[in-house]
């Protein structure tokens, strides 16, 4: 009886009935045309829902990458579309950090493709000499990611947790400071120190923990 009560949907449609086991026939299920860019154009709601993030992201992309191509608004659109995909199956602590990160990645991908295309036009020998730039890049990146994991393993707890909160959870320095009851300046300094160790490792291929202030890393 309870099951019957549960198995009802009360929705705008008045003549709601039990829907279990009702399958949609193939004919009613139009094949969706997904051509990368078509889809996100159907999401005009994003700029409205995330007005501030939208404005900030477009301004940032223009400042960082210039007017394009690719067009900053197109890239922002795609980033917000990916946000829509994400929230369907994963909870994001900070949608803002997510779209920024995705947009920066998309921008790099697009520019890399354009560079390659123009290199192919300019000089066919360049491509021949460097047969699979994607594969090579992926291998180098994999190595670098491993190196960074080693770096992370050796970081003091405080550096690692602030860095994780900032980069993974997308929390602002101010929010991390609030949650830990410390000053925003301390969080900023700690994250910058940790990032410096990572950057040094990438630039020189060696781990070098200089510059981490000890008193800041001591647990309170």
């Amino acid at each position: 009886m309870i099951d019957e009560a549960f198995a009802r949907i009360v929705a705008p449609n008045k003549d709601a009935e039990s829907i279990w086991g009702v399958a949609v026939s193939k004919a009613e299920r139009p094949k969706l045309r997904i051509v990368g860019e078509e889809v996100w154009r159907d999401h005009p709601a994003y700029p409205a829902v995330y007005a501030k993030e939208w404005r900030d992201l477009c301004a940032f992309l223009r400042a960082r990458f210039g007017p394009g191509p690719p067009d900053c608004e197109d890239v922002a659109q795609q980033a917000f579309f990916k946000l829509g995909e994400q929230t369907a199956d994963r909870q994001l602590e900070s949608p803002r950090a997510f779209v920024f990160r995705i947009a920066i990645n998309l921008m790099h991908d697009a520019r890399r493709q354009m560079r390659r295309a123009s290199a192919a036009l300019d000089d066919t020998t360049t491509l021949a000499a460097d047969e699979d730039p994607d594969l090579e890049r992926a291998l180098i990146a994999k190595q670098q990611v491993r190196l960074l994991q080693e770096v992370l393993a050796g970081l003091p707890e405080r550096h690692r947790s602030y860095l994780t909160a900032n980069r993974m959870d997308g929390l602002s320095f101010a929010e991390i400071a609030r949650r830990h009851g410390v000053s925003e300046a301390l969080v900023r300094k700690t994250v910058e120190e940790a990032a410096a160790v990572c950057q040094r490792a990438i630039a020189r291929g060696a781990i070098d923990y200089r510059g981490l202030s000890r008193e800041r890393t001591r647990r309170s």
Binding site: P30, A59, A63, G154
Partner: protein
């Protein structure tokens, strides 16, 4: 490509601060304009910024690696000699440390005994980890849903943080569900819990629930929606819930469905078992003004008609 810039130089440090500020701080268009001015002032600035940015992108990947690869918690006293020692020693310490987070796969629930004797039932595709202060009674619900049976300890309140919402108890049985847009739902089966988000605080007794979102915390009776943590007995119940929330839950049971923005806020009242989820989605067009279409990746897309 421009020549590399020493990350420890003044320009290197400035570039790093800029690259971090983009996500770490408020970044309104005025700051973007300042960034642009700085980048245009010197080609080395661009080069240094690109270096910092690419390290951060790699770092994001490194951090996203499985929890088991996460490092040991070393005391600072230990870190310094360790840094000087061979990396293999650090790696050994890493392997000796148990994983920090409790996770469940899509479609599966997990029963876990916590360090303080409390007990948690983790919903599907959910993750729970001790807070970073590593106290035994403070946890962070990263995603999904969990039902807690907490051992009473008046000296040490048990807290669960989900996004910006905090749930605090002495000893009780309650359910925490982290939904879309950082909306958190708390249902109390026994005892009294305190739910807070920012300045908004509510005490929630047994038989009632609380919903915390950007506008604060509201409480309501659980009547008609099913009792606290009914999902543990294979029963999902919703009263006028946004479609996107319902689908987000069902996806945690192994479905692969997206909801277009124009259908996300349609209201749904229903009760179902997870094994009925597929039929539920297929039947949606009969009760809501939506279409359900197959996508090339095998998933489904629900959008408003």
């Amino acid at each position: 490509m421009n020549a590399p810039v020493d990350p420890d130089s003044a320009i290197g440090a400035r570039a790093r601060a800029w690259a971090l500020a983009v996500i770490g701080e408020d970044f309104p268009p005025a700051r973007s304009a300042e960034l642009e001015t700085w980048l245009k002032a010197d080609p080395r600035h661009v080069s240094a910024y690109e270096q910092a940015e690419s390290t951060l992108l790699l770092l994001d990947e490194a951090l996203a690696a499985p929890i088991a690869a996460r490092p040991a918690r070393l005391s600072p006293r230990w870190v310094w000699p360790a840094a000087a020692m061979a990396a293999s020693l650090v790696a050994a310490a890493v392997l000796a440390t148990p994983p920090a987070a409790i996770m469940s796969a899509p479609g599966q629930t997990r029963e876990v005994a916590l360090a303080d004797g409390s007990h948690v039932t983790l919903g599907p595709a959910s993750s729970l980890r001790p807070s970073w202060r590593l106290a035994r009674r403070t946890y962070v619900l990263g995603s999904g849903q969990a039902f807690f049976a907490v051992v009473r300890d008046e000296a040490h309140p048990f807290t669960v943080t989900a996004g910006e919402t905090k749930v605090r108890v002495l000893g009780t049985r309650f359910d925490v569900h982290k939904g879309l847009d950082n909306r958190v739902r708390v249902e109390v089966e026994q005892g009294l819990v305190e739910v807070s988000r920012g300045p908004s605080v509510a005490k929630v007794p047994a038989g009632r629930g609380a919903l915390a979102d950007a506008s604060g915390v509201r409480t309501a009776a659980l009547d008609g929606v099913g009792d606290a943590g009914a999902w543990r007995r294979g029963r999902l119940a919703y009263a006028a819930a946004p479609l996107a929330d319902v689908i987000a839950d069902l996806n945690r049971y192994g479905l692969h469905v997206r909801v277009a923005a124009n259908a996300a806020d349609l209201k749904v009242t229903t009760g179902l078992r997870p094994d009925q989820a597929g039929a539920f989605v297929a039947g949606l067009p009969r009760v809501l003004p939506v279409t359900v279409a197959q996508e090339p990746d095998g998933g489904l897309l629900i959008r408003a008609r």
